[in-house]
């Protein structure tokens, strides 16, 4: 198995964390209540820390002298490898929580599987991150139930968000040649579809939500084909390093 595949794989994991962290950071100071503001930014902080670990590891595998900051701030949209799901805008609170829930449920089973991967660095990062993500899922699952089984209005909004984001969930499990070539350095993503679906079905049942019907699934994020939404996000996230290259605290 070639090193570039592990590099790509770590970029994917790191970019998911980085982009979702940036999205959650957009809520900072705008949360509906103080506790939610804190919770969203705490989750964002965990994800940012995880992104740093993955991107640092990716940079060391690449061995071209790039570091985590250069990977985060000096790549353009086409070089990002995150899932399309995480670049979706925040929308209303139902939208933010549905996106978070789909991602957390996937993130947990992936990290769990990676915590026994044959690559020591991948295994150590995953084993560290999985403990944080267990708290993330607990929270987003609670919100799915609370909003889904809440008022008529909260139910309607969450069902709409869950339906709209559903086409972005297929990509999480669709393995391409990079992931397939990893063997036990990575994990079998296809095999994680069933446990993820089980989690979603049981939570949606408690939340009185309908699991969206099978249909067309979007793809391309992992290969660098993104929506224009990522470009707008990067314009904000990378502004400082683009305007003042090498600027430091």
């Amino acid at each position: 198995m070639a090193a570039p595949a592990v590099f790509e794989f770590c970029l994917r994991l790191g970019d998911n964390d980085l982009i979702l962290s940036q999205r959650l950071g957009e809520w900072c100071g705008r949360g509906p209540v103080l506790e939610e503001d804190l919770a969203l930014t705490n989750v964002a902080l965990d994800l940012l820390g995880q992104a740093r670990l993955w991107l640092s590891h990716a940079a060391s595998i690449e061995g071209r002298g790039r570091n985590e900051d250069q990977l985060a701030f000096l790549r353009d949209a086409g070089e990002f490898r995150n899932l399309l799901l995480v670049e979706e805008p925040n929308g209303d609170y139902a939208h933010t929580m549905a996106r978070q829930y789909y991602f957390d449920a996937w993130h947990l089973v992936v990290l769990d599987a990676l915590s026994i991967a044959s690559d020591a660095s991948v295994r150590d990062i995953a084993a560290k991150a999985v403990k944080e993500v267990a708290y993330h899922l607990q929270r987003s699952r609670d919100w799915m139930i609370r909003l889904g089984d809440g008022t008529e209005e909260s139910h309607r909004r969450l069902q709409a968000a869950a339906d709209q984001l559903w086409p972005y969930t297929g990509e999480m499990f669709a393995m391409d040649e990079v992931e397939a070539s990893l063997g036990d350095v990575g994990c079998d993503l296809e095999a994680l579809r069933a446990p993820w679906r089980e989690e979603v079905q049981s939570t949606f049942a408690r939340a009185t939500l309908a699991v969206p019907a099978a249909g067309w699934m979007q793809r391309g994020g992992k290969q660098g084909v993104h929506s224009e939404k990522l470009g707008l996000l990067l314009a904000e996230m990378q502004f400082l390093q683009r305007a003042y290259p090498g600027a430091q605290w």
């Binding site: 506790e35 804190l38 705490n42 902080l45 820390g49 995880q50 740093r52 020591a120 084993a127 944080e132």
Partner: protein
């Protein structure tokens, strides 16, 4: 030459920057102290991946050891095994309680913490995410005081 045991003692006086009631040793993040030739190597494990205190902790440890006359200090980060609140010392737990923060229950016990103010077990979670990544917001239903809970991790 200074022995690692002496260094451990010095480190017990280095407070955690975000929860200064306890030391970095109480927190269980100092994993190893050893001489590698002329260099003193202190191995530290991060609490949460994104904890902003991590860099400050490394700096504080280095400053403290230099203050004790150690000239060459190297701080190494070790990820595995991942830090757990089960590593908090008994002394650290007691200090947290006295500071008004409920110490973490063992990870395997999924029971709510007793109130650090009145000791009542009748408490409820307001939010699993609090003022720092390691804490949750709780409220005591007996004395009605809100409090921070150092959450099991």
């Amino acid at each position: 030459m200074v022995t690692p045991a002496e260094v451990w003692q010095w480190l017990e006086a280095v407070p955690d920057p975000e929860v200064p009631a306890i030391s970095v040793v109480d927190l269980g993040i100092v994993r190893e102290v050893t001489w590698r030739g002329p260099e003193l190597v202190v191995t530290v494990t991060p609490t949460y991946s994104g904890c902003p205190a991590t860099a400050v902790i490394a700096q504080d440890i280095e400053t403290a050891l230099r203050g004790h006359g150690i000239e060459r200090v190297r701080i190494e980060t070790r990820l595995a095994p991942a830090w757990t609140t089960d590593w908090l010392s008994d002394q650290g737990r007691e200090k947290l309680r006295n500071f008004g923060i409920a110490p973490p229950q063992l990870v395997q016990l999924a029971v709510p913490p007793p109130c650090p103010h009145c000791g009542s077990g009748h408490t409820e979670c307001l939010s699993a995410f609090g003022s720092t990544p390691c804490k949750a917001l709780y409220r005591c239903r007996a004395c009605l005081e809100p409090f921070d809970y150092f959450k099991p991790h």
